[in-house]
Amino acid sequence: MTSSGVGVGGETAGDRAATAMGDAAAGRWEVLRALGSVSRLAPPDGAPVLAALGLPGWSKADHTRLFVLELPPYASIHLGPEGKLGGEGSERIAGMWRALGLEPPADCDHLATLLAFYAHLGESSGACRTAIARDRLEHARSVLLWEHLATWLPGYLHALSRDPTAGPWCDLLGAALRREAAESEAPAGLPVALRDAVPPISDAFSLDELLDALVAPIRVGFILTFTDLTLAAGQVGAGLRRGERRYALRALLEQEPAGTLGWLGQHASAWAEVHGRGGHVSTLTAGWWRQRALDSATVLHRLSDLARDASVPAASPAAGERGR
């Protein structure tokens, strides 16, 4: 029984072509497919692949924590305006499948599918008999890389690599991504997802609007995990409510608005530094994310100040002192 990936994970024409191309070329695509697959396959299913990659194993619980609860590896979460699965973020990728005459799989924006698709395109272009066909597939692979992987994967890997269990996998995938970028010319313009992204947050946002934006990376330029919120709760001295991130964040903001907003501002500033540090494979993309994080930091710090002011009654001496 061979497995799937709607033709991108199992035996394909590309696979057969890969064999013909020789081990080295085949290995280039296989390592990407393998790195993607382990983000989807919990042990024991993915254990042989991890071993073949030379990576340390992880437990089923670790895998669930990392890839299901903390940071699900879907492009739509990072590029969609709502920071959720599906919608615009995945439709854009599905459209690419359809443009190539393929039926998009249900989870076409999952990292495992994206990398398997990328590998499939690479293998298939090597097997093309005509230059036109090869160029078409090479173009598609380039689009996949710059529009649908390089746009969000570096930030994602940074967020995930803070967990020591995932570090080696993140490092290896980061290296593989950099190599792919090095062998492909970066486009002159911004990727569509960033170019058409909704505007950054503003002071005029209601609480609900702000909460919606804070859990959507593309809105604020940073990734906010539940682990981050745990850290924030400890630092601002508020109780952490268990639940989805938006729910927990609302609870923090209602308990300690100024402190929480201030922490979020610092978080945004830290992410602006991350984006500027060189983890991205495209300077344009890095610049966009950095600016988005800086914009967020500015607004969040300002909101924090406003919240601090609003929380202190004018008649209170202590408030007066604090206000000075």
Partner: protein
């Protein structure tokens, strides 16, 4: 691993290592990238881990307690889809822990509806029958004693042997429900020389089948929903209740691609809620709508004229019906326009109650489908109306006009997508004709007139010495069930009644023998159904037998592994046949003997091993690749796909070697003297008659080439049926519209139409009633009433009791006031109203059967609930958690028989009067006057045109028509009274 100079990982080396690991894994036939299947919906255990699959016990959390299971495939035995199941057999206890989908099954692709996993409930049901039982008191008294299988077999075999040797073959009958297998039981009867096959099809799908058969010579369609642009469904029945899972998943895929779904269903069904167009027509008007769409396609130039020219029998039509006209295709085109000119959208609107503009919009959608038009009509309208068979005939008319026949996204004849492997023995056709199933009045009936059996017995047309019901419940399922009770209680009419059943049911109470048969995981069968454009076979097997064999044990009798002494039909019939003919002198035993060891008893291993080795193309080669025998492969995988993408088989050229001493008829039918090549696929289809000199029909001339054509008399799609014309019904020889018995002009002013044919996707008649999960989901059947009707009738609230009066009695049910039903129509679902009689305390389906008082008085029969369902103690603690008491009403008891004079289908729709319940009425009450039911039976029999008067050739029935267990040619001849 790093590049020593840069500190970066050596990606090339890692990649090569991964490639090598993948190659090595896949070379072992295992899976490197495990996880999501091709369906992308769920992760399935890869097959190489099916011997020891490990899961953690969720109830032991936080402890990590491992469950080790063997995963053994089988197929579901609830509805007829035969979806793949995977039994999780605990390696320690060797008990089945759960059932999930079999990802290797080509039809269901790992998915199941609720009924599949609920097989576990059926297996562990505390009320199931575990041992052979013999009646101890009077019939129906409820007294039983345990017997041995030997006692049962010897007693029954003695009766059968006597009937056969005394020339009373027609006193033997086996009445099956949904077969769930392909032909085993038919061959048993053929081996006995008995024409005793009786099915439930004339209360199920024969109306739908008839319309397809007269077009294509094959009685089922196979819509390629997944690739369709437009999916056109007359009722949602098939897609919500029968082939629910395999079809629904493909409709879902088509919708995701943008396909449009059109559903004609008077009731808002599950499928209708997902439709782009839901049309709620006046019941019985569906054919009028189809014809209006057909007219639109013809009138607006959207007909596929090249297809019609090549593949319709228009020449035969012109010669037979318009001999005075030029015999040209142009003349036929003009005639076609004239024939359907009256079916305007306005006409269809007047008949259906759906406005003409909506119909016109739908017609345009259909027109846009081109050859990617998949359509289906099965039960509901086709099974409910006088002339309902014209509903499916007019549905296929649309496909035929568009040329959407056996095209991608079109509608195939089911035989293209079905494979019935030739078995180890093929006994000859029986030489007798069973008049009780195939009476002269219905020469064109699609299937046995099963639901008329009580009336035929009361008529004195014959008697039954031994009557088997096989996983079937005639008292409950058929209309007019009290007439069944009367004949089953009468030893003069039914000498011995043997119920082969896993569970108690309303019919088995009246049996002489109750013999326990296995559920989906306890029996062997093979099957193949049309679910996409491909052919596959599925293998049902006793999973504990397969599991023990994996552990190295040898099992020779399925009773060794089944609960109690539950058996399976395959082995039962082999054993019974040996006891009928112990020395082989009757010629029966030979068909149940080993081929490898003549004179020894055939085993199921040899039976299926031979079939898989010799009759399934590609399977032996595939098995060899895995180093196993074909039987081992099927025990391991549970299914095998033989072909995919059959395409337009009718257009294939007939090979030269089949063309010998050829004759061509005036209409282009080609006959050959060459013998028919041996085929491994013995699936049913029409058998066109040979020419006068005995040459067989082999194809048709098309473009000067002999092509295979269709298995119809003309070899083409039969727009005009010479069969219908020739057997006394010339007015219905073309696709047409017959006004239903419930057409408004046939209803009294205060009558409404009752729809009773719809199913719930969570139950399947009475077969699933011993599934506690399903019972909890669905256990009652309120009467759907539109709010405007509820106001008019004085029904104030949902839940109020209503009395529904039919022409032979009434039932009392709860009302459900909903806009999901058309005004003027009420509806009540299948499956519900299960009962057991007071005093039959030890027989039950505890979660679904009310205890009733069944009484017969001068006014007829009454059935009143004495005690409703309630919690009870049993070996299953869940029976103490039953929270419902309402199990609905058994409405079928109150329906008189309505045999369609052409198809033989029971026309289920009822003309009823509905009003608030009366004082003393109680939910579930039923009253029936069987004397009145006799009158209705006679009224409908008067509509028939018997073969004795109308047969054009001195036979009982057109020999080319399909018929289960077809008798020998001489049995077709009419005998002189």
């Amino acid at each position: 691993m790093s590049d020593q100079h840069s500190g970066q990982p050596d990606l090339d080396a890692i990649g090569q290592r991964v490639s090598a690991a993948r190659s090595a894994t896949e070379a072992r036939g295992e899976t490197f990238y495990q996880g999501p299947s091709k369906t992308m919906l769920a992760a399935f255990p890869p097959i190489e881990r099916w011997d020891d699959w490990v899961e953690l016990d969720s109830r032991a959390w936080p402890k990590r307690v491992e469950h080790h299971s063997m995963l053994v495939p089988t197929t579901c035995f609830n509805c007829e889809s035969a979806c793949g199941l995977l039994a999780y057999v605990d390696r320690d206890s060797l008990q089945v822990r759960k059932f999930e989908g079999n990802p290797l099954h080509p039809g269901s692709r790992g998915r199941n509806c609720a009924k599949g996993p609920a097989t576990l409930n059926q297996v562990t049901d505390p009320d199931r029958i575990l041992y052979p039982l013999r009646r101890a008191g009077a019939r129906g008294e409820g007294k039983w004693e345990r017997a041995s299988w030997d006692e049962a077999l010897d007693a029954i075999a003695a009766r059968l042997r006597a009937a056969i040797t005394e020339g009373r073959q027609n006193e033997i009958m086996i009445h099956i429900g949904r077969p769930g297998e392909d032909g085993y039981t038919e061959r048993v009867m053929a081996a006995w020389g008995v024409d005793g096959h009786n099915s439930h099809t004339n209360v199920c799908s024969s109306g739908g089948r008839t319309g397809f058969q007269f077009w294509t010579g094959i009685d089922r369609p196979s819509p390629d929903h997944a690739n369709a642009k437009v999916i056109y469904l007359i009722s949602s029945h098939l897609e919500a209740g029968h082939y629910f899972n395999p079809h629904a998943q493909r409709i879902t895929e088509a919708r995701a691609r943008g396909a449009k779904v059109i559903v004609l269903d008077t009731r808002l069904s599950n499928t209708a809620t997902h439709a782009d167009y839901w049309l709620s027509p006046q019941p019985g008007s569906e054919a009028a709508i189809n014809l209006a769409i057909a007219r639109h396609l013809i009138a607006t130039g959207r007909a596929n004229w090249p297809f019609i020219h090549d593949w319709w029998n228009w020449q035969e039509y012109m010669a037979s019906c318009r001999p005075e006209s030029p015999q040209t295709f142009e003349a036929f085109q003009a005639a076609l326009g004239e024939l359907y000119a009256e079916y305007t959208f306005e006409f269809a609107a007047a008949e259906s109650g759906i406005d003409a503009a909506t119909l016109a919009e739908v017609a345009e959608v259909v027109a846009g489908a081109g050859t990617a038009f998949s359509c289906h009509s099965w039960r509901s309208a086709a099974a409910s109306n006088l002339g309902g068979w014209q509903v499916s005939r007019t549905v296929f008319f649309l496909a035929a006009i568009l040329g959407a026949v056996a095209t991608p996204g079109g509608t195939f004849p089911n035989a293209y997508n079905k494979f019935v492997p030739k078995p180890i023995h093929l006994p000859p056709h029986p030489k007798v004709w069973q008049e009780l199933s195939w009476p002269l009045e219905f020469p064109l009936a699609q299937n046995e007139l099963s639901f008329l059996l009580p009336h035929f017995l009361k008529d004195g047309r014959g008697r039954l010495d031994t009557y088997f019901s096989r996983v079937y419940n005639p008292v409950w399922t058929n209309p007019d069930g009290m007439s069944w009770v009367e004949v089953l209680s009468d030893p003069d009419k039914v000498g011995c009644y043997v119920a082969l059943t896993p569970t108690w049911n309303e019919s088995s109470y009246f049996a002489d023998w109750v013999l326990p048969m296995g559920h989906a995981s306890e029996r062997h069968d093979t099957h193949s159904y049309e679910q996409y454009d491909g052919q596959w076979i599925g293998f049902r097997q006793p999973v504990l037998r397969a599991a023990r064999e994996r552990l190295g044990e040898t099992v020779t009798d399925t009773r060794e592994v089944n609960p109690g002494e539950v058996w399976e039909e395959n082995e039962f019939y082999i054993e019974l046949s040996w006891r009928i003919d112990p020395d082989g002198s009757l010629g029966i035993r030979q068909y149940f003997e080993s081929r490898a060891h003549p004179g020894e008893k055939l085993t199921v291993d040899e039976y299926y091993g031979w079939m898989f080795e010799n009759s399934v193309p590609g399977l032996p080669e595939r098995a060899k690749e895995e180093g196993v025998t074909p039987l081992e492969y099927m025990r391991r995988h549970g299914a095998f796909e033989i072909t995919r993408g059959q395409g337009a088989l009718y257009a294939e050229e007939v090979p030269e070697q089949e063309l010998e001493d050829v004759r061509v008829s005036e209409i282009g039918r080609v006959y050959t003297a060459a013998p028919k090549p041996e085929t491994l696929n013995v699936g049913p289809l029409g058998a066109p008659a040979p020419d006068d000199e005995g040459r067989r029909a082999v194809g048709v001339i098309c473009d000067g080439v002999v092509r295979r054509g269709f298995p119809t008399p003309s070899g083409r799609l039969e727009f005009y049926s010479s069969t219908i014309d020739g057997w006394g019904w010339p007015e219905h020889a073309l696709p047409g519209y017959i006004r239903s018995h419930v057409h408004p002009e046939n209803l009294a002013g205060d009558e409404m139409v009752l729809l009773s044919t719809f199913r719930l996707p969570t139950q399947i008649h009475t077969r699933s009633a011993n599934s506690k999960w399903l019972d909890e989901l669905s256990h009652t059947n309120p009467v759907w009433i539109h709010p405007s009707d509820a106001r008019r009738l004085g029904v104030a609230r949902t839940g109020d009791l209503v009395r529904v009066e039919t022409h032979i009695g009434y039932f009392v049910a709860k009302a459900w006031i909903t806009e999901g039903i058309r005004p003027g129509v009420v509806a009540c679902s299948h499956h519900m109203g299960r009962w057991k009689m007071t005093g039959h305390d030890h027989v039950s389906a505890g979660g679904m059967m009310a205890t009733v008082d069944l009484a017969q008085g001068p006014e007829g029969w009454t059935l009143r609930a004495r005690e409703r369902v309630k919690p009870f103690a049993s070996s299953d603690p869940d029976t103490l958690r039953i929270w419902w008491s309402d199990t609905g009403v058994h409405q079928n008891l109150t329906f008189p028989v309505h045999p369609d004079p052409i198809s033989g289908m029971h026309c289920w729709h009822q003309a009823v009067r509905v009003g608030p319940a009366r004082p003393g009425d109680s939910h579930g009450d039923v009253a029936v006057d069987t004397a009145r039911s006799r009158q209705v039976y006679e009224e409908w029999m008067a509509r028939t045109r018997p073969a004795g008067t109308y047969s054009p050739n001195g036979t009982r029935r057109p020999a080319w028509l399909m018929r289960p267990l077809k008798p020998a040619p001489e049995a077709f001849l009419l005998t002189t009274p």
